[in-house]
């Protein structure tokens, strides 16, 4: 086929690969199919599931046995492909009349796409690359053209009439129930063959109603010693007069009477019941079974094929009953084929039409045909005559075996069958009875009318299938009311039956094996570790860890991190996982990166989690989910180094040493403490910042312009953090801008807004004095911070360092933060309005309640005396 490398950039250009017999993708694909199946082309197409795309191949395959084409879609477990077991069938598209390839690009992400659909399935979408990578593949135009030509070839070409197009060969590529398949394989271990007697009878009644019959039907239906298990009785010419055929009710009545009569006339001593009757005009087939057999019969179906005038009238044609008894599929056909000596070809055509046209519905799309049965019995007035050699006289008396033998040499049916022109594969027993047609009614005399029709073996019983033995084949002379004599044949059939005890054993073994296979084939991945240890993690310092996942199972594995209930995401806010999902080919690995950053947007959540987790708190547990497989818990852990950022004013007031000297667990103790015992009146970190800012004088011009928690922090921020967390005596390591940033974060990050739990009331307070009453109820640290802050801000406004409205807006939103999701303009105005009351220089009741708070902030700080004094001034 193709020369050179499979993939232009592939790895198989090595000397070893070149030395080995060349394998093209095409030849690898061909290995997946049977000898009589041919791969005509391969086309590279990929599919998209979620965010991922999956490379695959569409292959056009034909089967010699089925005479049909199909597209089979494979996904590739490895690229480049090295062996046929790396191809996984994911869908089968028989190219039948419903098959469609559509290229509607409406609303699609790519021009290079198309849909495939067949039968009632939903269309499957495929995409392709503009340039093919595999030289043995075809391009899109060629792909479409070839499919169209196949479609044409199959449905328009003249086919030899014996060929029935079928898609049965595709069953091997469709997944059918594993248990079913396995049970089928082990059939021999539980299948036994049970003898049953099948009694077939046929009679052309020549329009005579059954009450016309003075004779009993017993000689015809109750012959043989052993009571049969199944009767199949075919009648023809029930009533073919135009009057009767136009009157459905009358026909119905006739039929019912015949059925009753026949049920009455079967073998004595055994209870029988009618299983099913089917009638096409005057052709009727009735199946009667032993009562106790009924419960073992399933999937009973009937159908008919009309022939004769316009192929529709049904004066000729066939009817059939199909069913399953135990494990054996049995079919009875009763047919009345074209009449007259010379119409041999028409009879053959009728036969073929019935054989091809008879379908028994299985489930929806699937149908079984006559040939899908294990045991087929075909009876009826087949109408084949004794071919009279030209100019020869009719034979004399016909009552001895020799004459029958002679006549049968000229029997059209035997001649046609020997030339395979009809009833291919059918057999017939030896005929040791006189021709059954045509008699003068009421006599045993052949036609004495003007027409002088030649005697013939019109009425026959044939069979096809394994394990059928004929016990009797005869006509009944003494039944005389028709111009035909009735015929019957008795068979012993060994039918496939399940030995229930053995079956149970095999089933349990099969279930076990199938379960085991499913368990063993569960997609698996191995993770390098299940604990990701971050060590010491500090506020605003990113860290990351990588770990590997491997696919060590013999199939492609998809994995993804599962979204959890809480948080409603795959991981906590302070983590980032990449990739969140991927596919792993056989033997491949993927590195997963977990990044951690505790920043202003996530600190509150982390501290909350630490406080609310009993015992040691992990940063998170990720759920690594393997598609159709297990979940693996990946624990992300480490030690958070507490910082003042995010801590409440109360917590900070409980510290007895710099926050940086606390461990995660120790700070948790302080955070969950609710007693109103504080070591200082105001957090030292807050005081230090205000003090620094206060001393900057002119430098403060233009600070507090804006604030957004999500903004990246300044480069000096971490130095400021350490300065605060160590209670450093060194010079402030940043600028007034950094100090302002730190101050705002210190106020903004705690879980609770500074003015909680009174935010709602404060927003709606009408005056400063009303608000002050509430503020007096705040915890001491909060109250002190608030008052100290207001004094500081007021001073700045007085000095025109910053603008009152702007500051009111920024601080108002922080201090009166609400968890309500919809922050309205109105709310923002209320916040600003509230703040303005406290920082406005001309405010009449500036000092109310403010006394002593700032000054009492703490005695620990050397700077407090001066700053407190100046602020109070």
């Amino acid at each position: 086929m193709e020369r050179g490398s499979l993939y232009p950039n592939g790895a198989d250009t090595s000397a070893a690969a070149a030395a080995a017999p060349e394998k093209t993708t095409m030849s690898i694909v061909q290995q997946r199919f049977k000898a009589d199946e041919t791969v005509h082309l391969i086309f590279e197409a990929y599919q998209i599931r979620g965010q991922e795309h999956f490379e695959g191949l569409l292959t056009l395959v034909s089967s010699a046995s089925g005479g049909t084409y199909a597209l089979i879609s494979f996904s590739l477990l490895r690229t480049p492909l090295t062996a046929s077991n790396e191809l996984k069938i994911n869908k089968v598209f028989p190219i039948n009349k419903t098959f469609q390839l559509t290229t509607d690009t409406k609303g699609s992400i790519s021009e290079q796409q198309f849909d495939l659909s067949t039968d009632d399935d939903r269309p499957s979408k495929y995409y392709y690359h503009p340039i093919r990578t595999d030289l043995s593949a075809v391009d899109f135009n060629e792909f479409c053209a070839k499919i169209n030509s196949c479609k044409k070839a199959m449905w328009e070409a003249e086919l030899p009439s014996e060929t029935t197009l079928n898609f049965r060969w595709l069953d091997d590529y469709r997944e059918i129930g594993e248990v079913k398949q396995e049970l089928k394989k082990r059939q021999s271990q539980y299948i036994v063959y049970k003898d049953i007697i099948v009694y077939c009878a046929t009679w052309n009644v020549n329009n005579r109603p059954c009450w016309d019959n003075n004779n009993s039907l017993r000689p015809w239906l109750a012959s043989g010693e052993k009571a049969p298990d199944i009767y199949a009785i075919g009648l023809q010419e029930l009533d073919t007069t135009a009057k009767a055929m136009l009157n459905g009710n009358q026909m119905q009545m006739y039929a019912a009477q015949w059925i009753r009569k026949m049920v009455e006339s079967v073998h004595d001593g055994v209870e029988y019941e009618e299983l099913q009757s089917v009638r096409l005009s005057g052709i009727m087939l009735t199946v009667i079974v032993r009562k106790e057999l009924r419960q073992h019969i399933v999937r009973c179906r009937v159908n008919s094929v009309a022939r004769g005038m316009f192929n529709a009238l049904g004066n000729k044609g066939g009817v059939a009953v199909s069913f399953q008894l135990n494990e054996a599929k049995i079919c009875f056909v009763n047919s009345h084929l074209a009449a007259h000596m010379t119409y041999v070809a028409e009879r053959n055509d009728d036969y073929k039409a019935i054989e091809d046209g008879m379908r028994f519905e299985e489930n929806g799309l699937l149908c079984r045909t006559i040939n899908d049965h294990d045991h087929i019995f075909w009876l009826g007035d087949l109408n084949y005559r004794i071919q009279e050699p030209n100019g020869q006289q009719r034979p004399g008396p016909m009552n001895d075996a020799q004459t029958f033998e002679l006549l049968l040499q000229y029997d059209q049916l035997r001649t046609e069958m020997s030339h395979d022109r009809c009833f291919k594969g059918y057999r017939e027993g030896e005929i040791k009875f006189a021709p059954t047609y045509k008699y003068d009614v009421g006599t045993d005399t052949y036609d004495t009318s003007e027409k002088q029709r030649a005697p013939a073996y019109c009425d026959r019983v044939l069979w096809k299938g394994k394990r059928i033995e004929q016990l009797a084949y005869n006509s009944v002379m003494e039944i005389r009311q028709s111009d035909h004599k009735p015929v019957y044949a008795i068979f012993r059939v060994k039918i496939k039956t399940r030995d229930e005890a053995k079956y149970k054993l095999v089933l349990s073994e099969v279930l076990k094996a199938v379960d085991k296979r499913e368990n063993d084939n569960q997609p698996q991945i191995i993770t390098e570790r299940t604990i990701i240890e971050f060590g010491l993690v500090r506020f605003n310092e990113p860290a990351m860890r990588d770990f590997n996942v491997y696919n060590n199972c013999p199939q492609q594995v998809d994995f993804m991190f599962k979204v959890k209930d809480s948080p409603n995401d795959i991981c906590e806010k302070w983590l980032h996982v990449d990739p969140q999902s991927d596919s792993l080919m056989i033997d491949s690995a993927r590195s997963i990166r977990v990044r951690m950053l505790v920043d202003p947007t996530s600190i509150t959540g982390l501290l909350h989690k630490i406080c609310n987790t009993p015992g040691k708190c992990d940063f998170d547990i990720l759920i690594l989910h393997v598609r159709s497989g297990r979940d693996i818990f990946i624990t992300v852990t480490g030690e958070y180094q507490p910082s003042c950022f995010g801590l409440s004013m109360e917590t900070m007031c409980r510290t007895n040493r710099p926050v940086g000297e606390y461990k995660q667990d120790e700070i948790k103790q302080l955070m969950v403490d609710v007693t109103p015992e504080y070591r200082v009146t105001m957090p030292r970190e807050f005081f230090l910042l205000i003090d620094y800012l206060h001393k900057q004088g002119d430098q403060l011009k233009g600070i507090f312009q804006s604030y957004d928690r999500r903004q990246p922090l300044s480069s000096q921020f971490n130095a400021v953090r350490d300065w605060l967390d160590t209670w450093s005596e060194d010079e402030f390591p940043g600028t007034p801008q950094t100090a302002a940033e730190a101050l705002l974060l210190l106020l903004d990050l705690p879980e609770q807004a500074l003015l909680e739990p009174f935010v709602e009331d404060l927003l709606h307070s009408r005056s400063k004095s009303e608000a002050m009453e509430l503020i007096a109820l705040l915890s001491a640290p909060k109250r002190n911070v608030f008052m100290h802050l207001c004094m500081f801000l007021r001073e700045g406004i007085e000095r025109h360092d910053y603008e009152a409205n702007n500051v009111a807006a920024i601080f108002g939103r922080i201090l009166l933060r609400t968890s309500k999701s919809n922050v309205t303009l109105d709310y923002q105005n209320l916040c600003s309005q509230f703040m303005r009351r406290f920082i406005h220089v001309d405010s009449p009741d500036t000092n109310a309640g403010g006394n002593g708070h700032a000054g009492g902030a703490n005695g620990a700080s050397g700077a407090s005396g001066t700053s407190g004094a100046s602020l109070q001034a």
């Binding site: 129930g177 248990v179 959890k564 992990d618 547990i621 297990r630």
Partner: protein, 204 residues
């Protein structure tokens, strides 16, 4: 897209303290094997096993959960889809038995209301190390109206029986529901009983 080879699919869950033998019980049931080396389950594993009950092929999908304390919160999210829960303790471990109450509370909070439950006292082959008597196991099961069995994954005692009984109990419920004239009725009744106290107050 494998075709289904079963009539019914039941999802079962194994829960209980770490080390009580949940994985061993599952391994015994699915593979009829036992290993004494302890490998802690870090996540959720599952195995399937098809059983025939009353002529129906029932595929049991059994989820084995991590018992470690740190995973307790996360494993509760798996309770929801379970139709049956096996709550396992170790008869040689008092603590694991005491925790049964905690596990039952977890089930109440997180599992479907009509989940079938069963308590298993595992390691019953280790009679000499027993600290929880069978009577105590039976008592707690009776108290909560739950099935109880002592099992041994190692000696293969009662393992198959336990799963089949649990599956059968689910099957009873399922078929009962199918035949019920009005499947909604149960829900309606429950809603009414919830409202009942308030309604009474109004009338009083």
């Amino acid at each position: 897209m494998a075709k289904k080879t079963y009539d019914l699919l039941f999802k079962l869950l194994l829960i209980g303290d770490s080390g009580v033998g949940k994985t061993c019980i599952l391994f015994r049931f699915s593979d009829d094997a036992f290993t004494s080396t302890f490998i802690s389950t870090i996540g959720i594993d599952f195995k399937i096993k098809t059983v025939e009950l009353r002529g129906k092929k029932i595929k049991l999908q059994i989820w084995d959960t991590a018992g470690q304390e740190r995973f307790h919160t996360i494993t509760t999210s798996y309770y929801r889809g379970a139709m049956g829960i096996m709550l396992v303790y170790d008869i040689t471990n008092e603590k694991s038995f005491e925790n049964i109450v905690k596990w039952l509370r977890n089930i109440d909070e997180h599992a479907n209301e009509d989940v079938e439950k069963m308590i298993l006292g595992n390691k019953c082959d280790m009679g000499d190390k027993r600290v929880v008597s069978k009577e105590r196991g039976e008592a707690i099961a009776r108290e909560h109206g739950i099935r109880f069995m002592e099992t041994s994954a190692k000696s293969n005692i009662n393992i198959e029986r336990a799963f089949c009984e649990l599956a059968e109990a689910i099957l009873d419920k399922t078929s009962g529901r199918e035949s019920a004239e009005n499947p909604e009725r149960v829900v309606i009744d429950r809603a009414n009983s919830d409202k009942a106290p308030g309604y009474n107050k109004c009338c009083a």
